[in-house]
């Protein structure tokens, strides 16, 4: 099938979904509802408590609740519920003797309701199996909300002969079946599942205690001509009498209940950056990492849905969102790596360039310290330098030289440094740096083209092997969360991979 046929087919499917709408099947689930109610109580109760104290219990409770929705398979196929519940019980017994009577009652109920989850298969699993059998496993596909759910559901459903995939996999590989069953409510899936459908019929299955039933649309839909509005058809399955009427406690919304990251640094009051610091947000990454993302150069992202040759893009920092895949080098940042490689390319003049660079940068720093920034800048302005807003960056050891020839010459004169050989060496270094950074980019592109994207989607991260010297390998990794807080970090600390446990209850 060629690309044009493929595109025509996609538009035909979109048309069918617009005409037929989608099904939302809410499945009655008493043990789940009891647990959900306990989680709601806990979240409401701890909203006014010191967060550190309750962090792990609340994080764990939200994670188990999330897994009940995305991985409703029978317990023998469900190690993630099993381990989540035992973490939760451990954490409950750690806390329950140290808290008030009211708190300990809430914890006890949470632990009890969690334990009960292990005694029977979640009702959604039965409805899902029935639906698959009724239609025939070869005629449908099961869509899972995240990579852990793909693995979990696949372990259970493989023997029933039905395929399980993430939305990303389906969008990339296509799927020639008529019906998709999405395990979880629409909120748990990207809008592309309804706005760029892969099947003519789509059904979401989720426990009825999940309250948010809104259907996502594309970003343009509400303003656009031809904006796609999908009609939902609601079905309730199961015993409604002993049903799980959702008990709402105060202002608890789904946003408070879905799994959330833990930010290891407590929010600080806003302050100004000190010299050498940049404002950055902490970004939690798949694989147990985080990094500080500053609002600077664009950053490399990977799009696993694209074909080789088009997978790497340079994304503006404010376009980095949850589920963006970033491409980060190990150890050194790009800036540092291309500087090191450029130094190596200088060959025999390596020591000369290192010493002349150190000389002018140190002198500049010393002048700035001695005169103060304001006086130093006004002197430079009087000499006729035009790119003074960059002075801070000029001190950065990895920056070869100011871009403007004239400004660089004037700066050296002001620092009482003879123009040559400093000017020539720095210019050569800048040239070599451009070459080195092109080499690094080409190597990363080759590595990403050779990467198994299905592993990236399954695990959330893939380590790219080093192929040549000067390239220490890189990590393609999914953004799991972005901190709402701005922190100030040293410039050289930004965009460097660090170990971080903040995503423990997210993956």
């Amino acid at each position: 099938m060629n690309r044009i046929d493929d595109a025509m087919k996609r538009y035909a499917l979109t048309q069918e979904i617009i005409e037929n709408g989608i099904e939302l099947v809410r499945v009655s689930d008493s043990p789940g509802a009891r647990f959900d109610s306990a989680v709601r109580k806990l979240v409401l109760h701890t909203q006014s408590e010191p967060p550190d104290y309750w962090m792990d219990l609340v994080g764990c409770a939200r994670a188990v609740r999330g897994r009940l929705i995305t991985q409703p398979q029978p317990i023998e196929f469900n190690p993630s519920i099993d381990s989540g519940v035992s973490d939760l019980i451990k954490e409950s017994s750690r806390l329950k003797h140290r808290v008030s009577h009211e708190s300990s009652q809430i914890i006890r109920e949470l632990a009890k309701s969690a334990e009960d989850l292990l005694s029977s298969a979640p009702p959604v699993s039965e409805i899902l199996l029935e639906s698959i059998r009724e239609l025939g496993p070869e005629k449908c596909v099961i869509v899972a909300a995240n990579s852990a759910a793909v693995a979990g559901l696949d372990r259970w459903l493989r023997k029933h002969g039905v395929s399980v995939a993430s939305v990303g996999q389906l969008q990339r590989d296509g799927m020639f079946v008529s019906q998709a069953y999405a395990v979880g409510p629409p909120r748990f899936f990207p809008s592309s599942l309804v706005t760029a459908p892969i099947t003519a019929a789509l059904t979401y299955l989720f426990p009825s205690w999940f309250t948010d039933r809104s259907i996502p649309s594309s970003a343009l839909a509400s303003h656009a001509e031809g904006g796609i509005q999908i009609r939902p058809r609601f079905y309730s399955v199961g015993d409604a009498s002993k049903s799980d009427e959702v008990i709402t406690y105060g202002a608890i919304s789904e946003a408070d209940l879905i799994p959330q990251p833990i930010w290891s640094t407590p929010p600080v009051t806003l302050k100004r950056a000190r010299p050498g610091e940049v404002a950055a947000r902490r970004v939690l990454l798949s694989g147990g990492y985080s990094m500080f993302l500053d609002d600077g150069d664009r950053i490399r992202a990977v799009d696993p849905t694209q074909q080789p040759g088009g997978r790497i893009s340079y994304t503006h920092v404010d376009s980095v969102k949850i589920d963006t895949y970033l491409l980060l080098r190990d150890g050194a940042t790009d800036r540092q790596a291309s500087y090191d490689a450029a130094l190596a390319l200088m060959g025999a003049r390596r020591d000369d360039v290192a010493s002349t660079q150190a000389e002018w940068k140190n002198k500049l720093q010393a002048r700035l310290n001695r005169l103060g920034e304001t006086r130093a800048l006004s002197q430079l302005a009087a000499l006729g330098l035009t790119t003074l807003d960059r002075v801070e960056a000029w001190i950065d050891p990895t920056l070869a030289r100011p871009k403007s020839d004239r400004d660089f010459a004037l700066l050296l004169e002001w620092l009482d440094i003879p123009l040559q050989p400093t000017f020539r060496l720095a210019t050569d270094l800048a040239r070599k740096r451009a070459r080195a950074s092109a080499n690094i980019a080409a190597q990363l592109e080759d590595a990403v083209d050779a990467m198994d994207v299905s592993v990236l989607e399954r695990d959330g991260h893939v380590r790219l092997a080093a192929k040549s010297t000067g390239f220490r390998g890189a990590l393609a990794t999914r953004v799991l969360a972005i901190s709402p807080n701005i922190e100030f970090v040293q410039r050289h600390e930004a965009r460097v991979l660090m170990q971080d446990r903040g995503a423990k209850w997210l993956e």
Partner: protein, 236 residues
């Protein structure tokens, strides 16, 4: 495509008006040439381009080009079924010799090249899109449409003022919407990718600076079912 063909003076007159070493483009029955003009010999009826002589009467169109050029020869592109339908074939030599350089495609370069090689068909006849758009290429002696890599667009901004229309193909290209100031900009977004940022940015731009424009009434285009289209205009 809808623009009228350029009106070029007779080849003889152009040749007489040129000073030596002016970069020129010439179109014969079989070839498109870019070269430096070296002279014209009216007695012998010869045109000298970069040291090679051409029979003056067999040169269908000649024009100076503004930018210095490398010497290139390219087999002539013939008007296909779509160009004929659009009435472009009658002034074909002039169109090939002096095409408007007013259109650009911005996206993933290898895909743009691949896509311009796709054929448009009408009945049993077909024509490659490239013979209508005349995309830039290192070996192309004549071109009308510039192709830019979205990844490296920062280095190419601002775009030439001669551009009237730009297509931003895909998420990376669409990030530049606010930086493009041509009369017409078309951003193409793919709904099937999970990241909706590109669409959100477009809507934000529309909300902050845009004025409503109906595609159906003002542009007379009704989007095909399945396509969501948002039209707006921005004061420059």
């Amino acid at each position: 495509m809808a623009s009228p063909a350029p009106v070029l003076p007779p080849v003889r007159d152009v040749a007489l008006s040129l000073s030596v070493d002016t970069p020129v483009r010439a179109v014969t029955q079989s070839t498109v040439i870019t070269e430096n003009f070296r002279g014209v010999d009216l007695d012998r009826g010869r045109l000298n381009l970069g040291g090679y002589e051409w029979i003056l009467d067999k040169v269908d169109a000649l024009t100076p080009i503004p930018h210095p050029t490398t010497a290139l020869r390219q087999p002539i592109i013939r008007p296909g079924v779509i160009c004929q339908m659009a009435g472009m074939s009658s002034d074909w030599a002039a169109r090939l010799c002096s095409p408007p350089e007013d259109f650009a495609l911005i996206g993933t370069l290898s895909w743009l090249r691949e896509n311009t090689n796709v054929f448009l068909a009408r009945g049993s006849e077909r024509e490659p899109i490239s013979s209508i758009l005349l995309p830039t290429h290192p070996d192309a002696a004549t071109w009308s449409t510039r192709l830019y890599s979205a990844l490296k667009l920062d280095d190419d901004l601002p775009l030439p003022e001669s551009l009237q229309g730009v297509v931003l193909d895909g998420t990376t290209a669409a990030q530049y919407l606010a930086a493009i100031e041509t009369k017409v900009v078309i951003a193409i977004l793919d709904r099937s990718i999970a990241d909706q940022t590109a669409g959100e940015n477009v809507v934000q731009y529309y909300n902050s600076r845009g004025n409503p424009l109906s595609l159906k009434h003002d542009v007379r285009w009704t989007p095909t079912p399945g396509i969501e289209a948002l039209g707006f205009w921005i004061p420059l």
